[in-house]
């Protein structure tokens, strides 16, 4: 049972957190033919664009209403209208997803009202799907923007089925949190399909940001879940929600369509995947395929081999709540101690984390706490690199952004196989660190008990 504290500093140093409009924009990027549009000044979009480009190493579709100082004061109707029409004329999107920013929320633009008026005045976009989400920068974090956007998409785009009889029990909705990578979604898709079920992912970043080479280049997203497919999600037999952040969206789905949901707060680790297998067996009526029985064995073996290296590690993790819960949980189950946990925003999972205290803070907090508690493994996104190098401790990158290494979009965590590979990667990192920095010398034990630390860390 963890206590959640909030950093009391006036000045955030080395932010862990990113803003919620770009979390919302990323959710829209999991839709096919989508153009995410931030209603704000052009920097709001450009910073997000650069961030995602550097993370996914892909061209990122994202537009701006380019609010000027004057437009901000007078209200942004004209900018939203022009932006929608320009995007429509230039890129012929299947959907435009609008997220507000701090700039336009401070003024209080009524974007839903704007959209109504834009549709009335412009026949061309009268029926173009346009979804608006309120995501002020000065509230909440990246994960919240994703959560609100997926919920809004469910509320506005999923059709309520006309009768329960039309429900197809082989169809499964999957609502993944933003802590899952395109690689994770592909793995999940395979697992679900192996049970003879047909999953629809909302959002589906595996379709759009997995680095595939498209047949035709479009200035919008080049894959992902289609508008039509979303509208039919109400006919599925079940909804699987992954991460506590997806609770609201799953509830919205149930409320609107009656599709029941099962929330998996974790899908990384042995027990979490046993639960998934049991659930899929139950809803499909099929036994778990042979290959997962083998994979379970491989994970168990990896846990046994890995616990020699991970066991006893003093862990410092900086991540959004659901990712923190996944990786903190897995490594704790392998014998590591989660001594420092820093996160970005409130979430029900925080209290359940296997640690004493979780701080909503920044990477300066993470660094200082890790130093004070003598941590010897840091897990956070790429921005942790400076802190880890100052502390001279092994650093494992997880989360967005991962701009200084390749393969962030394919880093695997879910499924037996995901946990197995993650354990190997982290164990290898720790072994390399030991070889490079902590091999014993004739002086390692000269000063007896209490001196071993000084000898093994330099």
């Amino acid at each position: 049972m963890a206590t959640v504290t909030v950093s009391k500093k006036a000045c955030s140093v080395n932010p862990l957190k990113m803003s919620q409009p770009i979390g919302g924009a990323l959710a829209f990027m999991g839709l096919r033919g989508a153009m995410p549009l931030l209603h704000g000044s052009q920097g709001c979009t450009s910073f997000g664009l650069v961030l995602f480009t550097r993370h996914f190493k892909e061209a990122i579709p994202m537009q701006t209403t380019a609010m000027s100082e004057v437009a901000t004061v007078l209200g942004g109707y004209e900018n939203v209208e022009q932006a929608v029409l320009n995007i429509y004329n230039r890129t012929k999107p299947e959907i435009i997803g609008i997220c507000s920013t701090g700039v336009t929320e401070t003024k209080g633009d009524d974007v839903d009202g704007y959209i109504k008026l834009i549709r009335e005045k412009n026949a061309a976009v009268a029926h173009l799907p346009i979804v608006y989400v309120s995501t002020p920068d000065f509230k909440d974090a990246f994960q919240d923007g994703w959560e609100k956007t997926v919920t809004r998409i469910v509320e506005t785009m999923v059709d309520a089925p006309k009768s329960a009889a039309r429900r197809d029990p082989t169809k499964i909705n999957v609502l993944p949190g933003c802590h899952l990578t395109p690689g994770d979604l592909d793995e999940l898709r395979t697992i679900i399909e192996d049970f003879g079920l047909e999953p629809t992912f909302l959002p589906d970043l595996a379709g759009s940001l997995d680095g595939h080479i498209p047949d035709d280049f479009t200035p919008t997203t080049i894959g992902g879940v289609g508008v039509e497919e979303i509208s039919m999600m109400g006919q599925a037999g079940w909804t699987i929600a992954i991460g506590a952040q997806m609770q609201r969206a799953a509830e919205a789905m149930e409320q609107k369509t009656g599709v029941p949901f099962r929330l998996f707060e974790r899908l990384c680790g042995l027990e979490a995947n046993d639960a998934l297998m049991a659930f899929l067996t139950e809803i499909s009526g099929r036994p778990a395929p042979m290959k997962y029985r083998r994979q379970r064995g491989q994970l168990v073996d990896a846990m046994l081999d890995g616990h020699f290296h991970i066991g006893g590690r003093k862990l410092a993790v900086g991540a959004e709540p659901d990712l923190l819960n996944e990786i903190g949980g897995l490594l704790t189950e392998m014998g590591a101690q989660l001594l420092v946990a820093v996160t970005t925003t409130q979430s029900p999972v925080l209290q359940r984390l296997p640690t004493e205290e979780v701080m909503i803070g920044d990477l300066e907090d993470l660094e200082n706490l890790a130093k004070a508690k003598d941590c010897d493994l840091m897990v956070t996104h790429s921005h942790g690199r400076q802190a880890a190098s100052r502390l001279k401790i092994p650093f494992f990158r997880m989360g967005i952004p991962m701009f200084d290494r390749l393969g962030g979009g394919h880093q695997l965590m879910v499924g037996y196989r995901g946990a197995r590979d993650l354990i190997f990667d982290i164990s290898n990192l720790l072994m390399a660190d030991h070889e490079d920095n902590h091999e014993p010398t004739p002086d390692s034990w000269r000063d007896g008990v209490g001196a071993s630390h000084a000898a093994t860390s330099h």
């Binding site: 006036a10 080395n14 052009q42 920068d137």
Partner: protein, 556 residues
């Protein structure tokens, strides 16, 4: 008029800008920054521009006053390098919340400044204003003044909220802040007749260090670099330099010009990209320093160094020239260094397919035109789709661009090289030019292209998506060639103004019908160039062509 809008007006009035001097009073007031296009804009805001210009000052704490987006989404993402402090890579932000938006964020800002001084004790703090606190009326000038008095430390307000304009304007506003609050506030420990300021150089990938050894050898001291690998104290005492070189095109011309005006420091605009440019710049530096009192023998030493370095560089490049024979480069750069890169590539014997001038100043475009002569194929406002098509049509062998457009090239299985600020290699001076050529060669001749272009086993030859796309393009071209009416239609359908969606045919008709001869006339008649204005150059070309065509007819 608020002090910010007065500063912006002042920046627009820049007399050092040749383009500006030719404008009418009314045009000047409108400013040189293009109007942004909702739904069609790309690129950073004024805050981004200000931060880019100043962040390379290494020992300064850069504090961003705003919601998390402004710093949280963007910190530590620049490739500038430091020879000393790494404080500039620490992200400081007030991360204002809802309560601050309601009650004002000034107290949080003041406390933040105190926390930074207590924990990090930097020689100075730069406080960046952003949109939200500007809207709610946070007076960062007053907070900075109070903090300066309380902590007895320079706390510098950088008034450049994102919504006042694009990156370009932010560069200049950053310069204004330096002029107003930093330059001339301290004295150097000593001066020499060889003291030089370098203005507008950010030391990306450590490129300044490709040139610094040459200056060291000549005994020339970089008194202050604004801002790459710069230190606060150096900039504060930079008013004692003897001469200045302005590197980064016009981005910081206001700094160079006002330092000349206030402190009598003459400046020239030069570049260290490319061999000839490097030599010219070194000569000009020597000439200016001699004029300001350095011994005349400096020029002899400079010439000797140039001769030696040029010979070495040419020898290194010579072996690549045959390999580059007939190779075409597509240069897409939104950056401030467009024209200098063009010069560098031409020296290596590469042919340029085109160059985008988006985001650079109008002056930059003129320089590109000058360098590339009549063949300059200006590609402005190129959409990703067009860029893709151009590569697909194999009109270019390699694309050089900023990080964001790389994926289009790579997906088309086309060699690509990064030349913007995210790049990992340094390309300045003689060694840098050799490095650039080496990198282009590495990219062009990498066997990976042959690998990735191979069809998958389940694809029949000529049926992969690339071949299909090429076949389609060829079929379209053939259809046009066979049908002059359609070809004319296609020619006329070419979009000249992307902002206002105006086609070539509409512009031609308007020119003929109304006997137009100016861009303004065309704008009134068709609305073309009424958006960002970037297509004015193309409209000028259309006007020129039509005027000469009508003269030809008249002469017959």
């Amino acid at each position: 008029m608020s002090s910010l809008s007065a500063t912006i007006q002042d920046v627009f009035n820049e007399p050092g800008c040749g383009k500006n001097a030719n404008k009418s009073e009314a045009e000047r007031k409108k400013g040189c920054t293009k109007q942004l296009q909702p739904g069609g804009a790309a690129g950073g805001c004024a805050f981004d521009g200000a931060k880019i210009a100043l962040q390379p000052l290494t020992d300064v704490a850069h504090l961003v006053h705003g919601p998390i987006a402004c710093e949280g989404n963007s910190w530590d993402n620049r490739g500038a390098k430091s020879s000393g402090s790494n404080l500039w890579r620490t992200g400081f932000t007030t991360d204002i919340n809802e309560t601050d938006v309601v009650f004002g964020g000034e107290k949080r800002l003041f406390k933040s400044i105190r926390e930074i001084i207590e924990k990090y004790d930097p020689p100075a703090i730069f406080v960046y204003q952003t949109c939200v606190p500007a809207m709610i009326g946070d007076d960062i000038d007053a907070v900075c003044k109070a903090a300066r008095e309380k902590f007895n430390k320079p706390v510098i307000p950088i008034n450049s909220p994102g919504f006042v304009g694009p990156k370009n304007l932010g560069n200049k506003l950053a310069g204004e802040a330096l002029l107003q609050h930093v330059i001339g506030t301290e004295e150097p420990e000593y001066t020499t007749p060889y003291d030089l300021n370098i203005i507008g150089e950010y030391n990306l990938s450590g490129e300044l260090w490709q040139v610094k050894p040459l200056l060291d050898e000549l005994g020339i001291r970089i008194m202050a670099c604004i801002s790459g690998d710069g230190k606060y104290k150096e900039v504060a005492s930079s008013h004692r330099a003897k001469a200045a070189m302005m590197v980064c095109s016009k981005a910081m011309i206001n700094v160079a010009r006002k330092m000349e005006e206030r402190y009598g420091i003459p400046f020239f605009e030069g570049s260290f990209y490319g061999i000839e440019d490097s030599s010219d710049s070194l000569r000009e530096i020597a000439r200016m320093l001699i004029e300001r009192g350095a011994p005349a023998e400096l020029m002899d030493r400079t010439e000797a160094l140039i001769a030696r370095e040029e010979a070495k560089a040419w020898a290194a490049i010579a072996k690549y020239k045959p390999r580059f024979q007939g190779k075409k480069v597509l240069l897409i750069t939104g950056g401030v260094k467009s024209w200098s890169v063009v010069a560098a590539l031409q020296e290596a014997g590469l042919e340029l397919v085109g160059t985008s001038v988006k985001k650079s100043t109008k002056e930059d475009k003129e320089r590109i035109k000058e360098l590339m002569g009549q063949d300059a194929h200006m590609i402005e406002d190129m959409t990703p789709r067009e860029m893709y098509k151009m590569l697909k049509d194999a009109r270019a062998d390699i694309m050089l661009s900023g990080g964001r457009s790389q994926f289009i090239a790579l997906k088309a299985s086309m060699p690509w090289l990064d030349i913007n600020q995210e790049r990992h290699h340094a390309y300045m001076g003689y060694v840098g030019m050799v490095k650039l050529v080496e990198e282009i060669d590495k990219a062009l001749y990498n066997p990976v292209w042959a690998q990735v272009r191979k069809p998958a086993p389940w694809e029949k030859a000529g049926e992969n998506w690339q071949s299909r796309a090429m076949a389609q393009a060829e079929a379209e071209a053939a259809a046009l060639a066979a049908d002059p009416v359609k070809a004319e239609e296609a020619r006329r359908a070419k979009k000249i103004c992307n902002c206002k969606s105006v086609e070539l045919g509409v512009i031609e008709d308007a020119i003929l019908a109304n006997n137009l001869s100016t861009v303004e006339g065309v704008r009134e008649a068709t609305n073309a160039s009424g958006g960002c204005g970037a297509c004015a150059v193309r409209i000028e070309e259309i006007l020129e062509q039509m005027v000469s065509a009508s003269h030809a007819i008249a002469a017959e």
